[in-house]
């Protein structure tokens, strides 16, 4: 009998071990697939986007000659508005290639440098008038078509469809003289959106995201935490609180576009808050993240052992004191996790912002909570839809920035949680 049993156990042992092995294999497979997806994503994005951190520059000798650009009196800033600043770069290009004489060819030659160069000269000379009359050797940003061609040419896969054969010849000449080179793209971090890919930067969207998220956190975290504490510690358990709980859980699952519609209907149409501003975006996103924060905060409060409450009450603390001095500090790490999950979702959201005008072309970098602004995921969405070839790498670069922003946020949260965490 016992021998039979042992045989039976032995037999089933094999099967049970196999089941466990299979399960472990499935688990490993799942982890491997997940990792592979992440690696693939990162390799793809980084390989496509790394190009955007470097831009093509052309070295030119610029002579700050007021007459060449139609300025008679260099102290009169009124004249600066109508001056032909781009001419400073054009003149220098003409000196570099004196053999180019035909009008059409000259136009092509002028197209080598970015159209925004003139504005940079204006800003520089407005700040520093002592430069007038002097000469300076500068690295000037090249046009996006040149940039795309030069990068693809360096990679031995030239994309020349947008250039003429003369332009390609000029770039060859510049390259052999060492006057064209890839350099770190400072514009990408200094400027807002632009329709000229070489002038487009991420700063506007980055600041917009920052303003929006700060306000979102300020609105949703205190409100969410107080609501959770009330519901968990003070509210009577009856039909009403049950109803509220069900509704909060439902609200957490509402598609985000609905919150955008709510923002449009109530805050824009009824309260008359202007479109496209971070305050409005933050209100909508705060409403969206509030249920997530309430639910996770309640779970964190629940996980505090009752003995701690009983001990506090036992030494004579009031219910409010117990909650505030003991329960809240102990559950704060869990609440922070919830807040971060909510913030991460808010950071990546575009759908609700579509309805309230934050999906827009905004060039000026927002200076406050009520300046028109856009956010990082919207910037990605706008760039990926642009016809210009050079925006492909900008898009990937913006994704890299968005992911870094997210990781930075998560890092702060993990650090805070580690500091606040207490074990018992």
């Amino acid at each position: 009998m016992s021998k039979d049993n042992r045989a039976l156990i032995k037999q089933s042992l094999k099967r049970r071990n196999r089941a466990e092995r299979n399960f472990q294999w499935f688990g490993k497979l799942g982890v491997a697939l997940g990792l592979a997806a992440v690696v693939l994503l990162f390799v793809d994005i980084i390989s496509k986007g790394s190009g955007a951190f470097r831009a093509t520059y052309i070295q030119l000798e610029i002579e700050y000659d007021p007459e060449a650009i139609g300025i008679l009196n260099v102290n009169d800033t009124e004249e600066f508005i109508f001056a032909n600043w781009q001419n400073l770069a054009k003149k220098s290009l003409r000196d570099l290639f004196p053999e180019v004489a035909k009008r059409g060819e000259r136009r092509k030659l002028n197209n080598l440098v970015s159209e925004g160069t003139g504005f940079d000269f204006r800003d520089q000379l407005t700040q520093n008038p002592s430069l007038w009359g002097t000469k300076e050797t500068l690295w000037i940003l090249a046009d996006d078509d040149i940039d795309t061609y030069y990068k693809s040419w360096l990679d031995d896969d030239p994309f020349s469809a947008r250039l003429t054969s003369e332009q390609i010849k000029w770039i060859d000449q510049l390259h052999s003289k060492g006057l064209i080179a890839l350099k770190f793209n400072t514009k990408f971090f200094e400027r807002g959106d632009s329709r000229e890919p070489e002038q487009a930067g991420i700063k506007g969207a980055l600041i917009g995201s920052f303003f929006t998220l700060i306000l979102t956190l300020l609105m949703s975290f205190p409100m969410g935490v107080t609501a959770a504490i009330y519901l968990e510690e003070f509210a009577p358990k009856n039909k009403w609180t049950d109803l509220i709980e069900v509704n909060i859980n439902n609200l957490a699952a509402v598609p985000s576009i609905i919150f955008g519609l709510l923002g449009l209907a109530i805050f824009i149409n009824f309260f008359g808050i202007p479109r496209s501003i971070p305050v409005l975006g933050a209100i909508v996103l705060a409403l969206m993240t509030l249920p997530t924060i309430i639910i996770t905060s309640r779970a964190a409060i629940k996980s505090v052992p009752p003995s701690i409450r009983e001990a506090a009450l036992g030494v004579g603390a009031s219910k409010f004191q117990t909650t505030l001095h003991h329960v809240l500090p102990l559950s704060l790490p869990g609440m922070l996790t919830g807040a971060i999950i909510g913030m991460a979702r808010a950071l990546g959201e575009t759908a609700p912002l579509l309805m309230i005008g934050m999906v827009a072309f905004i060039v000026d970098i927002p200076g406050g909570f009520t300046d028109p602004a856009t956010v990082l995921p919207v910037q990605i969405f706008l760039w990926i839809d642009s016809p210009e070839r050079a925006f492909v790498e900008k898009t990937s670069a913006a994704i890299i920035i968005l992911l870094s922003f997210l990781m930075g946020m998560n890092f702060v949260a993990v650090y805070l949680r580690k500091r606040l965490e207490r074990r018992w």
């Binding site: 306000l215 300020l218 205190p222 990926i384």
Partner: protein
């Protein structure tokens, strides 16, 4: 707790400043409307902002219809100043504007955009007529018998027209929400649809069923909706050399190394052929301005001046570089003059 208290007080201060700020006026121009005009409008806005040193207009891409709705909802800083459109304002929209107090509207015709039917660079070059397009893509097609419609039976271009190669019908195009799709249906499909006499007659007798016959695209998987992203269509064409794609001319211009356009009725889509309207699938681009906002919201006149300047919308202007097809010279000069002197629509224009 003190920290939470202070956060709450900061919050309440913020909310109160917010509620008081809505009464303030707006400093920057707000533009909404068509996603086709968006790439051109944004360039002008940026140039205007940088060269004048004033705030750059904010531009949203809401689609032509959505833009009209926002634009016509009223006067005042909470409503946009300008709307872009890839078609002319409709009669119903004009009426809606009037009802909501938007009485003086300045209409600016800025140029044209061509819609191209393209395939991968290595694939067979096609010469399609609008009739072929209609027969290949409509949901219901007419038979030899007059007045009879059957469900589209064609699977290959050769069946549609024996001059075309034996190629599976597979077309990637924009979804129904897109203005490009509307324009394609109106200019491409309807243009081919009208070549059948009895359907052309239907237009007078039963406008609704005429529209249904001519504008409905088949849904059996031969027309594939590729989303609003035209770059995606270009990528997919490269992966599948048998497929054709429908998108705007500016994308063809930027991706000349990857795709090439089919001829429509033996005409290649080029700058000139679209401008002189010999290329049949092209549409006009407009924007509309509220006259009541000129002078109230700063910068509108400057923005109009920049948009209608020769360096912007002229033949060698920067909008042409971005792929917009300019108006003929005379029309352009007249439009620039009328726009700068802020001449509003009279309501007598032949709107649809």
């Amino acid at each position: 707790m003190r920290s939470i208290m202070s956060i709450c007080s900061v919050l309440s201060v913020l909310l109160s400043t917010l509620l008081s700020s809505y009464a303030l006026s707006r400093d920057g121009i707000q533009v909404v409307g068509s996603s086709t005009v968006y790439p051109f409008s944004t360039v002008v806005a940026e140039r205007y902002g940088r060269s004048s040193g004033s705030l750059t207009p904010t531009i949203e891409s809401t689609g032509s219809g959505g833009g009209m709705k926002l634009f016509c909802s009223g006067i005042g800083v909470n409503h946009p100043d300008i709307t872009n459109s890839s078609r002319r304002m409709k009669k119903s929209e004009f009426k809606r504007c009037m009802e909501n107090g938007v009485e003086e509207i300045i209409e600016v015709h800025i140029g044209y955009d061509g819609i191209v039917i393209a395939n991968a660079l290595g694939a067979t070059e096609l010469n399609i007529s609008r009739k072929d397009l209609f027969l290949a893509l409509a949901e219901m097609v007419p038979t030899e018998k007059e007045g009879e419609l059957i469900e589209n039976p064609y699977t290959s271009w050769k069946e549609v027209n024996s001059d075309l190669p034996d190629l599976e019908i597979e077309v990637l195009g924009p979804p129904p929400t897109s203005g490009t799709r509307d324009a394609f249906a109106e200019l491409g499909l309807e243009g081919g649809c009208k070549t059948f006499d009895w359907i052309a007659k239907l237009k007078k007798s039963d406008k609704n069923s005429y529209k249904r016959v001519c504008h409905t695209i088949r849904e059996d998987g031969r027309y594939i909706e590729a989303g609003e992203n035209d770059n995606l269509i270009v990528q997919k064409l490269n992966a599948n050399p048998d497929a054709l794609g429908i998108f705007g001319f500016s994308f063809l211009d930027q991706n000349a190394d990857k795709v090439k356009a089919s001829k429509i009725e033996s005409i290649d889509p080029t700058f000139d052929s679209i401008a002189d309207k010999s290329y049949s699938i092209s549409r006009p681009l407009y924007f509309y301005v509220k006259k009541a906002h000129v002078g109230v919201v700063p910068g509108i006149q400057g923005f109009l001046r920049e948009f209608t300047s020769e360096r912007a919308w002229g033949e060698d202007g920067y909008l042409a570089d971005k792929g917009m097809i300019p108006l003929p010279e005379e029309e352009r000069f007249l439009a620039a003059k009328n726009t700068r002197s802020l001449i509003a629509m009279t309501g007598k224009e032949p709107l649809q």
